[in-house]
Subunit: 393 residues, 2 copies
Amino acid sequence: MEQFSYYTPTKVVFGKGAELKAGEMIRSYGFEKVLLHYGGGSIKRSGLYDKIVASLKENNIEFVELGGVEPNPKISLSRKAAQLCIDEGIEMILAVGGGSVLDSSKSAAAGAANHCDPWEFSSGKRVLEKSLPVGAVLTISAAGSEMSNSCVITNEDGWLKRGFGSDYNRPLFALMNPELTYTVSKYQTACGITDIMMHTLERYFCQNGDVALTDHLAEGLLRSVIDAGRIAIENPEDYEARATLMWASSLSHNGLTGCGRDYLMRCHQLEHELSGMYDRVAHGAGLAVIFPAWAKYVYRNEKALPRFSQYAVRVWGIEMDFEHPERTALAGIEATENYFRSIGMPVRLSELDIDDSGIEEMAEKCTFFGKRVLKDYIPLDKKEMIDIYRLAL
Amino acid sequence: MEQFSYYTPTKVVFGKGAELKAGEMIRSYGFEKVLLHYGGGSIKRSGLYDKIVASLKENNIEFVELGGVEPNPKISLSRKAAQLCIDEGIEMILAVGGGSVLDSSKSAAAGAANHCDPWEFSSGKRVLEKSLPVGAVLTISAAGSEMSNSCVITNEDGWLKRGFGSDYNRPLFALMNPELTYTVSKYQTACGITDIMMHTLERYFCQNGDVALTDHLAEGLLRSVIDAGRIAIENPEDYEARATLMWASSLSHNGLTGCGRDYLMRCHQLEHELSGMYDRVAHGAGLAVIFPAWAKYVYRNEKALPRFSQYAVRVWGIEMDFEHPERTALAGIEATENYFRSIGMPVRLSELDIDDSGIEEMAEKCTFFGKRVLKDYIPLDKKEMIDIYRLAL
């Protein structure tokens, strides 16, 4: 078990009606003026916006609002939000939405607290050392941003999608009512399921041994998500399935399923170039395409094979073939791919109408223009990245 | 899945050498004067005391010290520690030890911050609304107090052992180096294993359905602890086994394995009277005696039976007897009892030299002298408590 730090300070309130506590929660920290940050019109159509506003008013919380966060949130809006926070003397940001709204809020909070361009943190030019607090009312189970240290933003100038991690990115609180996710479309639900699974899978597939406890937690979480995912796709208003997905979204990316091992986000990195360059690609859908290609590329590696076999046996209930462990391992990868397909995800680039014309550029960007090699069972430089993107065609 | 709150703000630094960061960590929060609180002489013999003192001095942290915390920590020492904090203008307490030192520190912190007798919080007379921060250097894997909201103290006046929960009891940070537990005796290691398992089992055995995710996490944690426990008893210097026990001690009592379900600490309550009245009884050993008796008393209940069967199958790998689920359930209880025995725990009161003469008094105290009935599959009033204590003879 490798050394690790674990820090998950976010206060979670989980269950029916959790969103109604927004004003009271903000008040409990003594804040009096917030930025209400959200996405498109869905929170207005659903009535959630009115509930939140009522809760703020009841608790005498003054607020300024800024909507318009898009999927794959853009730095231009975060900059605008940061400036608004500075101009209006905002004390904290209340993010009402999913991962995109949360990440836009985190980026804005970083810019506002440091009076600088928030892209400086995304680009790695500057290290975050303070930020405004961010609270969340979660409306989609996917990114886990409600407890995570991560913030992923796309810069339209060059279509670069960049993430950065910092404990200052961890939200102050998260109000999580699974009912708010009933109206999430089947497609977005499936994208969320994929993203949740991938946050744990990226941590699971590493070279460190002796992490039995973390393994058991990861495998248990994956089995729960796989079952709940099937049910939620079939019946979007199944409370228990929605609750499992929502809680798993947080636990899968708050660090728990990676304690004591490396944290290699290579599928995420490969995917960021995909949805960064093809803005129509949802992050989860991109991951469903990248994972099978990546897995088939690396699973025969001697360090990878035992992990992939264990994954197949413990998560998918596949019988171990002790003579041919590579068959077991491959069966686990295929089971994952079949599952993604069964919930409506694409599993090839062609299903996203993407051909090989952009592969060279994606790989070039993913190496940060020749400045990095991704750590993995086999180090991934531009050549290997191109191979994986091609396998995904 | 029931509504729940989840709040685990403790910053964990885990791995070899973690204890050396004590001074730096305290300094990072801006504290300049601490109470160094510990137990007997073992931290001096092991050299840990010197390392901590050196780390404090390197970081210009002034400290006052108070040792002498006993197992089943006493309110008299917490009172003394609280007064010392007040008199010396202490800003935080650094607890170096296990659950007893942590609980003594939490109690003292509560008394010091509120300028009152800390027993007022234990007895339920007063609700904790602020406390001094407590940091931990953990030396034994057991109570999980390093991340938990709980504080259990014994009042020598009447030998009452009382716990109370509050988020203000949650430590600020915990430095966890598994190597520090190499010198913990086999018996104390086994007590710790039992305590860790019981923190999850108390949450596991409840009447709430639809908690698949929490179930999987709990079962995975239990399987890991059972395996690591066997290894640590055999080879006290097995790093991975010690690391698993240490991390499991925190996760088993920080709330994770109880999310979305009731939290019925009835075995703990029954045990508190046991080690409260018979001070020589270690808490873990008491639990190893109480659990099998309690389980055999309740498992046939229609709400309990499916849980006990699931436990037997998923944690102990027992084949499900679909015709006679009660046989499966009982086999799981017996497997637990055999495991406790195999690691050197007593499983009957007689092994602790306790006969039936104190049972009536323990039951009376456990009802808070007629003021409470413990919630369980079958509500536990004095009669039921006596039955369970008798089953444990």
